[in-house]
Each structure stands twice: as C-alpha cells, then as structure tokens.
C-alpha cells in the first residue's frame, strides 16, 4: 500500500493540486482568487505532463559530448547517445507551450479584472451580479454605454 502511494506520489500531488485549483475557481467570490485557482489548476497539468516524461533512471535529454576526444566529437557523441537512457523530452517542450498559453490567459484575465474594477468599483462577483441584476430590472439597458468607456 505504502509503496503504491510512494510510486504514484507525483500523480497524487497532481490530483490534489487539480482539485484545489478547480475548487477555488468555483468557490471563490473574488475574481483575483478565481484567477489564482485557475493558475493552480493549469499548473497541475504541467506537472502531469512532466511526470509522464520521466523515464526511471533516465538522464536529462542532453546529448553528451565526450570530453576525452580531440576535435568536436559529435559523431562519437551520437553513437554514445544511443546507449544512454534519456528521459522523454517531448512533454517538456509541450509544457513550455502550455506555460506560455497559461501566462497569456492570466494576463488577459488580470487586465479584465482591472477594467471590471474601474467600471463596477468592485471585484467581488456577488456585488457585480447584484449590480447587473438591478440594471436588468430597471430596464435601462443602454445606460451603461456612458460609464463603460
């Protein structure tokens, strides 16, 4: 049982982070906290990908250049590369892309929160909903065109 847990340690962390992030997104009322939750959720996926790229006993995927040879020794290095066990580099590359995507999403999200704060004067979702609701009931639909810009 214990060895089972230890051998899946990374996955347990992933699941924990994933659920924490998702819970915060749904439960938090503050828009910034929601974004924090979203980031945690996305980060858990990065960890999932990195974990699957690990090969037991594998080295970092960098081709070793032999030091004892004169000249550049690339041919030799390539020959050696076939013998050495490397971790899978592909998930790392994928996650680099996903990190960029995550940063872009976060940036847009934060920019939106700034604008929401300017327009509504609050970043609590409940407040915003209340303001919008009053707005709908009063029937002044386009009145916002003034405050919006």
């Amino acid at each position: 049982m214990l060895s089972e847990i230890l051998s899946h340690f990374n996955y347990i962390v992933v699941i924990f982070l994933m659920m924490t992030g998702l819970y915060v997104v749904f439960a938090a009322d503050n828009l910034i906290k929601k974004l924090v939750g979203l980031s945690v959720f996305q980060t858990s996926v990065f960890l999932l990908y990195i974990t699957m790229g690990k090969v037991s006993g594998g080295k970092p995927p960098i081709i070793e250049k032999s030091y004892d040879s004169h000249g550049d020794g690339y041919g030799e290095a390539a020959g050696k590369a076939a013998e050495v066990l490397y971790s899978n580099p592909l998930p790392h590359v994928l996650i680099l892309t996903a990190i960029v995507v995550g940063v872009a999403t976060l940036a847009v999200g934060l920019a939106l929160v700034v604008r929401i704060r300017e327009v509504y004067g609050t970043i609590e979702e409940e407040e915003i909903d209340r303001i919008n609701y009053g707005f709908n009931i009063d029937g002044v639909d386009e009145a916002a065109s003034g405050d919006g810009s």
């Binding site: 979203l38 996926v45 998930p91 999403t105 847009v108 999200g109 939106l112 639909d141 405050d147």
Partner: protein, 506 residues
C-alpha cells in the same frame, strides 16, 4: 478532384490558410489608421476563403491532403491534414469571416473607440487564424494551442463590447474562466492519450488505439476529459453558461462571428476525436454517444428553447436558441449512424449561416435605432424593410420552414431519428421546433404586424442599415434559401464528412 488554384498556392494552401491571418493579424495591430487595418483584414479573409474553397474542391471524392510542417514527416512532425470532414468547416469559417469583416466596417464606428479599432481587427484575425488552425491541424497538442489562441483572442474581442455595455467585461471574464477550464480539460485528455499511445499525431493515435481496443482504462479517462473539455467549448447543455453573456454583450460583428463559427469549430473537434481518433464501435463510446450526447442534446433543446421564450433581450433569445440548436447537432452525433452524423453535420453548416444572418440583422437594428429588446421590434418591418426581410428569412430557416436550409437539416435529422427507431427524438425535434416558432414568432409578429412607434406624432423615419451590413446579411439570407431549395451541395459535403467519420480511420 483538383482545386482551381494553381501551383504552389494549391500545395501550400493547408498551411497558408492558418499562417496568413496570423501574420497579418500581428501587422494589423501596429497599423496607424484603422481603415488600413480593416482593408488588410478584409483582403486576408478573402484570400482565406479562396484557399478554403480550393481545399474543399481538392478533398472531394475522399481525397486527403497531408502537409508536413517544416518538412518533418508525420507522425514525428506536426501534420496538417485536410479531408472531407474539415474542409467544409474551413470554408464556413472563412466565408463568415469575410462577411463579418465587411460588416465590421460600419459596426465598429458605433461600437469601438477609434484608437482601439486597429487592435480590434488584429484580435479578430488572430482569433480567425486560431479557429482555422484548430480545424486544419492533425496533431492533438497543436489543437490545444490553436484552441487557446482563438479563445484568448475571443476573450479580448468580447470584452471590447464594454464601450457599448459594461456587462461585456463580466461576460468576458466568465468566458475566460470556463473557456480555460475547458481547454485545460482537453489538454489533460490529450496528455493521457499521449501516455497511452506515445504519439500526438491523430492518425497514428487512432492506429494505436485501435490495437488496444476496449481494454485501455487510460484511454477511457482521456475520452472523458476530452468530451467534457470540448463540451464546454461547444456549449453543450449544462456547460453552456458562458454563452448567453458572451453572445449578448460582445460587439455585434463578433457576436455573429462567434455564433456562426466558434462553437462549430469545437463541434468539429468533437466529431474528429469521437469518430476518427477513437473507435465509435467500442462499448464505452457508444454508451457516451447514446446516454450522454444525445440525452443532453435533447434536454438542451427543451430547456434552452423555454429559456429563449422568456428572455426580453433579443440577443439573449438568439443565444439560448443557439444552445438549443447545438442540441440538434449533438442528437445527430449521438445517433452514431451515417444518416444521423450527416444530419448533424448539415445542421452545423446551415445553423452557422442562419445564426450568422440573425445576429448580423440584430446588430443592424442596434446600429440604427439602439434596439435590443424584443418589445422594441414594433414596426421594424416598415422602418427597415430590407434588413427585417433578411432577418425574417433567417428566422423562418431557424424554425425549419420548408424551402429553407433549416428545413433540410431538420428533416434529415427527423429521418435519421425515425430510421434509428428513436421516436422520442422525433417528438422532441417537432416540439422544440414549435417552441422556436414561439420565440422567433414573437419578434416577427412585433416587426410586421404592429405599427411603428411615433415620435412627435409622426412615424419614425425609415432608415436602412448601411450597405456593407446589408451585403453580408443578404448573402447569408440568400444562402439560407438556396441551400433550402437546392440542398445537394451541402448534403453532398455532409455525406462526405460522414463517410470520413465512419470510414474506419482518417
């Protein structure tokens, strides 16, 4: 069959259609004059339409185009793969792109501040490129990247509606949260698939999964994550909560573009993954189709139609109607038969055309008279006869009146349901069509039968929408009629698509 473009244009079309708007989008962002940015965007979307049309011609008769990006052969490099399933979606997206850009020439004057117009076109082109990319690519991770490119651009575009209605900001934020969760679910699913198969190329993945069959638990989990993630993106009922806000408060040109293309591209991905990457004959997939997609589709048809009836804001009526229409497509997918798939696919194309026209007309009403509420539609038939006529044609098509595109796809769906022995589905389609009569009829009745409001004792002056708006609107309205009377072309395309889906692999 070959296309009409010659030489390298034809060969490079699969990649050009994605890369061109992406590059021009970046150039648009730094344009000093918004008119130059508009011209660039318009020309780009036109070229993309020509390329898409060429691709449709090239892929007729079960032809498959494979383009190895950067010369790295699949399955190791990223592959762009065009076949009968995605070429028509490409054409739909790029043609709607042209029409919305043309429309935006007038609509942005009223909605977007001058200094934000060039960035607006930039974001539009990048979102456009993202949608085309996620449809073109044959690489599962690449799908995620393009999905996010298009989504992030869309969040920005929705938020730009804030100068018209501040609720756009709130809606954009909700869309961002739910959209990101959807995309992340999708990427988790892709990760599991990669774990199990060791490849990201869809064709290769399908081959490896076919060998594993029903025994792989990891691939079942991957399937669940992918369906939920895409479900969020395509506004499957119960995951659709971002949609009404995003459609109602974004700039009018963007509303029409999103309604006609964004959910359609996500739905295409669902087709692609469920039927060509996975094997639909497996038990867990069959069960998902019948008990999840079809059932949620039917529930969505009913609930969203009822919600549409009780909305006072016309934009929200159409938004809820979109959720209901996605239900029809999911029902078609859920049947899993050639007839059902073909019906769902035709409805995807037809609904893109119809909803695009409806939202464009709605935007024109707002542009001229600031009208968004159903109660303000009084006498619009007399004030803006041309715009309202196009709206009426599209509304009839949405209901499914014979002689319109909506009838063709609904009838095909009915036939498919009856053929499958799903009589409850037949009943559901008929009843929800009647609900559509109620919520669209409310607008039509007010527009045509009630007198125009009077200002100072005189009826409101007659003012048509500007010409660029009318051109796009009528193009779609005429398409809705032509595809209703001569449905052979879309139906042929849809049958081709269904063949790809059921023909055993890509």
């Amino acid at each position: 069959m070959s296309g009409f473009l010659t030489g390298w244009l034809s060969v490079e079309a699969p990649v050009l259609i994605v890369v061109l708007p992406l590059i021009i989008g970046a150039i648009c962002a730094v344009m000093p004059k918004d008119k130059i940015a508009w011209l660039l965007a318009f020309i780009t979307t036109l070229i993309c339409s020509a390329l898409a049309f060429d691709l449709v011609m090239q892929t007729r008769g079960e032809q498959v185009l494979s383009y190895a990006l950067g010369g790295w052969d699949p399955p190791f490099g990223i592959e762009y793969r065009i076949d009968g399933l995605n070429a028509p979606v490409l054409l739909l997206i790029s043609v709607i792109g042209v029409i919305c850009t043309l429309y935006a020439l007038s609509s942005t004057e009223a909605e977007i501040e001058p200094k934000k117009r060039a960035p607006f076109y930039a974001a539009f082109l990048i979102g456009f490129a993202g949608l085309l990319g996620m449809v073109t690519t044959g690489d599962a991770f690449n799908v995620f990247v393009f999905l996010e490119i298009s989504s992030i651009a869309t969040y920005v575009l929705v938020a730009m509606g804030a100068s018209r209605d501040r609720r756009a900001l709130n809606s954009a934020f909700n869309y961002l949260i739910l959209g990101s969760i959807g995309a992340t679910f999708f990427v988790i699913g892709v990760g599991f698939l990669y774990m199990e198969t060791g490849t990201l190329n869809m064709v290769d993945m399908a081959d490896k999964l076919a060998v594993m069959g029903d025994v792989s638990r990891v691939s079942q989990v991957a399937f669940a994550f992918i369906v939920v993630g895409l479900g969020l993106k395509l506004a499957m009922f119960s995951l659709h909560l971002w949609l009404p806000g995003a459609y109602a408060y974004s700039p009018t040109a963007i509303t029409a573009f999103l309604a006609a293309t964004a959910t359609k591209a996500a739905l295409y991905l669902l087709f692609r993954f469920v039927f060509t990457v996975f094997d639909p004959s497996l038990e867990f997939i069959g069960a998902t189709l019948t008990w999840l997609l079809a059932v949620l589709g039917v529930i969505g048809m009913f609930v969203a139609s009822f919600q549409a009836i009780f909305q006072s804001d016309a934009r929200r009526v159409l938004a809820f109607s979109s959720v209901a229409q996605v239900g029809y497509m999911l029902l078609g997918v859920g049947m899993g038969t050639a007839l059902g798939l073909s019906a769902g696919y035709v409805h995807l194309i037809n609904h893109g055309i119809i909803k695009g026209a409806l939202f464009l007309a709605l935007g024109a009403f707002w542009y001229r008279y600031g009208i968004v509420r159903v109660s303000d539609f009084k006498g619009l038939g007399k004030i803006m006869p041309w715009t309202m006529s196009a709206f009426t044609i599209a509304a009839l098509a949405l209901i499914g009146v014979p002689g319109t595109a909506g009838f063709v796809s609904k009838f095909q769906l009915l036939t498919a349901a009856a053929d499958n022995g799903w009589w409850w589905a037949v009943g559901a389609i008929v009843v929800t069509s009647i609900l559509a009569v109620i919520y669209m009829g409310r607008m039509l009745e007010a527009a045509w039968l009630q007198p125009a409001p009077e200002v100072n004792g005189k009826p409101v002056q007659k003012r048509e929408a500007p010409l660029p708006m009318l051109v796009g609107l009528w193009t779609l309205a005429i398409a809705a009629i032509v595809f209703g009377i001569v449905p052979s072309w879309p139906v042929e395309l849809a049958n081709g698509a269904a063949q790809v889906m059921l023909g055993g692999g890509l």
